[in-house]
Amino acid sequence: MRISVRYFAMLRERRGAPSEVVVVAPGATVGSLYADLFPEPRPRVGFVVRGEVAPADAPLADGDEVLFLPPVGGG
């Protein structure tokens, strides 16, 4: 399955790009993808799948867009 992923802030810096397309095995969840991409995961990162906030166990489907949202710092 091909998943397009968008990164922000320190996650973007760590991956070295604001977005990329990754290939994951069937059965992957947004949480398992995050753990694969970030072996030392930060706590309190939010997940968005297909434009909606999603829990870590949300399943992924081919063509999904995923966003990883670090703790916010606006204001």
Binding site: F8, M10, R12, R44, G73, G74
Partner: protein, 137 residues
């Protein structure tokens, strides 16, 4: 009016968006970038956003304010990109019929924005940089 702006914020326009003859109280909250953090000099701040998500969440906060304080008007703008110390990074204007609701709604607006809106801030010092997380108020 809900905006992300790569450049100086127009306080006058944001205030004007909530000012009508029905709104006897108008408050404009301005968040200004600080030039220090724990003794280190901040030379620049850099903001980035998930644009669609940030606008959606700001609208949602505005709707909550309009429900909790009926008749209230809200406008919010947040800066993205590089901001030198001493400049406005966020402006929230609230207009209500009377002042008590206005103070409450204004406070609600900035607290919710800092807690929920997907915007990130990097502080750059003379000798390094760090991403800042907002703590629960």
């Amino acid at each position: 009016m809900y905006q992300l702006v790569d450049g100086a914020l127009d306080r006058g326009a944001i205030e004007a968006a909530v000012t009508t003859p029905e709104h006897g109280a108008v408050l404009v909250f301005v968040g200004v970038t600080r030039d220090h953090f724990e003794g280190r000099r901040v030379v620049r701040l850099s903001y980035e956003a998930w644009d669609e998500g940030a606008i959606t969440e700001m609208r949602r906060i505005g709707s909550e304010i309009e429900q909790r304080w009926p008749g209230a008007r809200v406008a919010m703008a947040h800066r993205i990109g590089d901001v030198p110390p001493g400049e406005a990074s966020v402006v929230i204007a609230v207009g209500t019929a009377h002042r008590a609701a206005c103070y409450e709604a204004s406070r609600y607006g900035i607290e919710q924005l800092k807690a929920r809106v997907p915007i990130w801030k990097k502080e750059l010092y003379e000798d390094g940089a760090s991403w800042k997380e907002n703590l629960p108020s």
